[in-house]
Symmetry: D2
Subunit: 436 residues, 4 copies
């Protein structure tokens, strides 16, 4: 074929479970591709909500994949439907695609700018046309996006670890509010938005990014060790062993143990048959309990005073079970230390947090939480401690350096679709009763 076409494949599940066979990959010829994988959420799912989304506009085809969440997607969608647009999904990403298709500008890149000026929220986008590959990061740079290079090809990815796997070199992060695109094999950049200071999401540093990824020039693992060191500085306690909740608390526990010069030890063993609870698709499997995933290392913890370290505390259900498991296995004392502040506010920029009602620290005092999880003592890292661990002197309350509403309630972008406290839903995580 002389004319380039865009081929679209959608599947449920992980990339590696779907695009793994030679036969499948042979059906995907071409030089450029975009892909997307979203961690699943509660409720039913439908293939129509799976990314990327595609539109055949009068400037040619365009595919769009989106990490993040728009805060005015429902409002925009209503207007578009009134105007005769047909939506095939409930995803906020389709709103972006419809806005691009609707633009009266001639060039694809201009159509995209047109659309971006209408949307609000946290987003990193990768797009593909028959001619160019595009990467976009929202004006605050809430969601991450990096640029790599392999031989003569440019690569956009959410995290640098993706570049390592394929042997590509990490060039730089896409900046906040920047549109980069690859045209005729050269990399171009425009910044159409009013300039703002970057304000990346702190939860990428605390929990979401892979520890071997590089953010702002340093391994995420090192940030996490530093959260642990700062935590030790703020709230050390007499103990025999520093024990992580594996693997989420590993780095912080190592940092903590190095600071206090006490033994780091694996008091809990992770069963590698079972995946990360956050990413499992079926509610039932998630609730099978911590036992399937973790088991106490009895001989190691017996009669020991333990500092148990985790990266964050959301609902507290897992922590509750782990503390019980440690005491049942003979621990003398269990002191819980959390390497981030109390999470009191849900996210609407793309992280699948539970509603405020389910956030333990939004509803209980430190003492109440300590009692609920049945620990000997409980301490969280302070907000300023978190900023210190990240190299700032302290939080700049006028122009905060990070998107940190989880702990402060300070949302950088207005929640336009918000219908009242707990009624806000992230459209990007929705699914519908009907599916194809």
């Amino acid at each position: 074929m002389t004319e380039k076409i865009i081929i679209l494949k959608k599947r449920f599940g992980l990339v590696g479970d779907n695009f793994n066979k030679e036969k499948i990959l042979k059906n995907l010829p071409g030089n450029y591709a975009i892909g997307h994988n979203r961690y699943s959420t509660t409720g039913s799912t439908t293939l129509r909500n799976v990314q990327p989304f595609f539109a055949d506009t009068n400037a040619g085809g365009i595919g769009v994949a989106h990490n993040g969440n728009l805060t005015n997607a429902i409002t925009l969608r209503k207007k578009l439907v009134e105007d005769g647009a047909i939506f095939y999904s409930t995803s906020d990403t389709e709103t972006i695609v419809q806005l691009i298709a609707k633009s009266k500008r001639k060039k694809t890149i201009d159509k995209i700018v047109d659309a971006l000026f209408q949307i609000q929220g946290g987003y990193a986008l990768v797009m593909l046309t028959q001619k160019i590959l595009i990467g976009v990061r929202d004006p605050f740079g809430i969601r991450p996006l990096v640029i790599g290079k392999l031989k003569n090809s440019y690569i956009f990815a959410s995290e640098t670890c993706a570049l390592d796997i394929i042997g590509a070199t990490f060039l730089r992060e896409v900046e906040n509010g920047e549109i980069v695109y690859v045209e005729n094999n050269s990399l171009k950049s425009i910044k159409p938005f009013p300039l703002k200071k970057p304000r990346p999401c702190v939860f990428e540093y605390i929990y979401f990014s892979r520890p071997d990824s590089i953010l702002n020039g340093k391994c995420v693992y090192e940030y996490r060790k530093d959260f642990g060191k700062e935590l030790a500085r703020e709230s050390d306690v007499d103990a025999d062993l520093i024990v992580p909740v594996p693997d989420s608390g590993n780095a912080a526990a190592i940092g903590y143990s190095q600071h206090v010069k006490k033994y780091f030890d694996l008091g809990l063993i992770r069963n590698h048959y079972v995946g990360r609870t956050f990413i499992e698709p079926v509610q039932k499997i998630r609730s099978l309990g911590v036992k399937l995933k973790l088991n106490a290392n009895k001989s190691t913890i017996k009669n020991k005073k333990i500092v148990l370290i985790d990266d964050s505390l959301v609902r507290g259900t897992t922590c509750h079970k782990i503390v019980k498991m440690l005491y049942d296995s003979g621990a003398k004392e269990v002191h819980v230390r959390i390497a981030s502040p109390e999470i009191k506010f849900p996210d609407f920029y793309g992280i699948d947090t539970p509603t405020k009602k389910e956030l333990l620290a939004a509803n209980k005092s430190n003492d109440e939480i300590c009692k609920y999880i049945n620990a000997k003592s409980l301490k969280f890292l302070s907000v300023d401690g978190m900023y210190r661990a990240m190299g700032f002197k302290k939080r700049n309350n006028t122009y905060p350096q990070l998107t940190d509403h989880y702990f402060t309630g300070d949302y950088p972008i207005k929640l336009i679709d918000n219908l009242g406290d707990d009624k806000v839903t992230q459209l990007s995580l929705l699914s519908t009763a009907s599916n194809n």
Copy 2:
């Protein structure tokens, strides 16, 4: 749920192979439904082209299923894309849905009329909104649509045999150019188009409809027997046995044999493991050959002079093989008689005919065809014979009573998307490289 929702399920294959389990049907609650099954065509298929199509308009949701083919769908689609519409399929039916969504009229029924005034071609449509069930037949009534009743419910179906299966009563045909709809359980009718005489597709009588369906007050089987009788009148020959190509030629052969008072006999046996060639999805299975499907009844045909009857002759490949099979099994003479005229022109209103190049009678004389199929003699029913069998005195060449372009080249509706003789494709039968 207090608000009614529309549930959409698409599958490949026959209805009975997909919607057959209690578990599946339980997921489809509700009082009204529309469904669709399309015979498959060459080329790859994609779930996105499977009907019904659905749109969420500002007057509520609407589902559309379509039998037939539009002749100006590509032209309309181009304009809609220029205006920012996003198409998710290559089906002409989606064009209808987009036109409905675009209409500025307030009531759904008015939006539909708006859309119908823009489309051209042969079509029977059934549509479902949260409130009404709608049936539409094109201004000429090319494609069939009937109304039935079961207890207090109205039913629309392509053929009356569907009503028989569920025990419903046949009320009447939807008329050409009529829109009927069921609202608050009562049947309403409007006729928005300029009035025209009906001109139904004659191929429904000859081949497509099931023999037990009723068209225009009479069983299709009886029409076919009458084609056979008229054929006997025009072109009888000395013979021992009248043998049908089973099952397509059964009725015509019985009619022929009753007229000439010679033995009707099953000289060919059909293997019921293998389905109708027309409907099989995989090209390979279609080409496995006639042998899998038919076998000669050796003791019956040995040393006999045979009149072999079929309903129509398209490519002639099957007929060629059958004549050879009869001679190989000991037949003395094989005279082929076809119960319809020579097919010289392809269809663009929804019947999946091959291109003109592949239509045997478009490219060869009667003698050449007879030689190709290796028969002792060959006769087709004449065009006027066909009209006589259907109760007309003869064809009215000014206002033909039937859509009969297959034989005459007289297309009742302009082929707007036509790009030259054999380049015309029926958009409704298209499929694309990309699928989800």
Copy 3:
């Protein structure tokens, strides 16, 4: 590979639905093969009961496929288990395989003879070793088996129609009590059993064989036309139309109509989406009712006196529904004529008949049946009429020419596993709760 291996593939469903793709067939290299397809029965099924069966004996591997049913399989199986044999299925065929494996004879063919002398019942077997292909028919020749040739290769098949499909020549039937085998590409024959007159199963002629197959030198279709003619001779009645139950009654109805010189017509139309009821695997689909399968041809039968012909009457439920359907569609009179005698006794040689309790004619008089099916009149072909139609003067009651216990109760082989009238089950049709 220098040494020949035997490859075994088992699947549920029809051969054509499983062994249909090039990829699958490529995995089955080799020059000789045996296959098997069994019509499904009530109850659950398990892959372990699917044929062929295979054993790795000390004379090499042997695969066995079996049409028919043993009457002493349970008895033999008990003894084998006591002796330490492990059975993996509930099939009677595995009993044959175990007996072959147990034989102390050296040559495979001798091991087979050893095993055959121990089994009783109706059977046609095909077997495959690394060196020879074997076909066997039981001493009475109850079940059919034919030999064909294609180029230099020999083929065994249950019916001659299988030879036609692949273009092979029909050589002859395997004789009753004969073992034929292909060794070094030449056909050999032995007859180890005491000689008996053949006594083939009459139900193959009446119902089971395909009409285009040849039995005893004549098409099955012709036998069935002759049953119809004999039936006409015995029990004609005043009528307008001779209507078959399609397709089982087609041949008999044509014979009947030719004898009485009245119009044969298709008063019932068969829906080709739905398969032969006998062969459908799911009970639910079987009970969806006659309507899905047959529909009345209203214009044709209205106000007509009809003779309705079928090949046999088993439970009577379908016949009951058809007669009702004809009257509902306007028939004036419906006279039922059955082209075989009353079925009063179940089969234990491989035909899946219902138990005696369910056989209508085993429990009701002719008048009672006529009343149950609501016909104007009802007649069956007489036993002697059946023998006359097959070319005999009459039944030889001392040495009956056919296996005809269905009508006479005269079972040619003792029912050793029989546990009382209706408790006899055909082991070959059994299935178990456990499956792999």
Copy 4:
């Protein structure tokens, strides 16, 4: 049902991927069950080789699941086939089942003893009859088997971690040469074999068992920390960081770091999407390379002298890639320390080791290996160091306390099926060309 039946289900893949839905579990009623999961091996696999195996003997049904490998299975199998037995798999476990079925003893437990006296090798067996649940460990206790209790029910499992998951209490290990069985809810024990000292497989301590399982009274994790401490004692080196190969080297690295009082740090990050290489079923996925599984933690290791710890070294390919990855990411020195001795001999008692040809230490000197993996230095734990870490003074060369042939070549059980050095295969890991 009054009579108990045994239900058998076999599937490919992990237990949790197959027996995970309520619907499936509902089909498995009953009070006792046995299950089995085998790590997959090279070559094709067939459902017929999947455990448990089942036989219907004259003392009733019996199911058998087997961890380990017999060393005389081929020899026994040949004799059984000569005697007429039919094998349905290539598994050595079926040999055990056939021997049980063949036994002339009356009681099931006696049949089992009969069979056990004939087999040789390493085995832990669990068996289920309609009345009793049985657990067996081979005379040396090579393969592990433990007894747990949950309420009134007894449980057998390979490792204690399985008991923890379901909340059962660990009672004791089954002893070497012991048969325990649960009859009428009470636990019975017999020891039919001549008494021997236990000689458990040391590889369970080094690699195979889960770290949270208890062997011989202590967590496996603690044994592994002790291997690391002993290793540090024998071969410390100047370094900045102690880095494990995650997760196999974690415990040893922590032990090592505690002994030398240097920082333990995660210099390599494990990607949790990808499973343990040992257990992956498809060769291709295994060879996708270390990158998918591990990534270097650049900021952490840059300019550091590193001691890299792993539990064992088999082929050396992964180690080679990891050392390169560390140097590529900026490490100054990489010293490899292996927490077990050099593996020079393959296993035939149930561990899937490669052939001698592929065992790196069987073919190269320490210097050659160090050069191959490109490390600054390389040391293995000594054999006596390994015994010391396990609490012995040193290896007793007359009566070794452990099954340690991997390092010493001292096989406790004769390899009867052995056909020459590298031709020995573990029958239990075989698969065949044919499958069902």
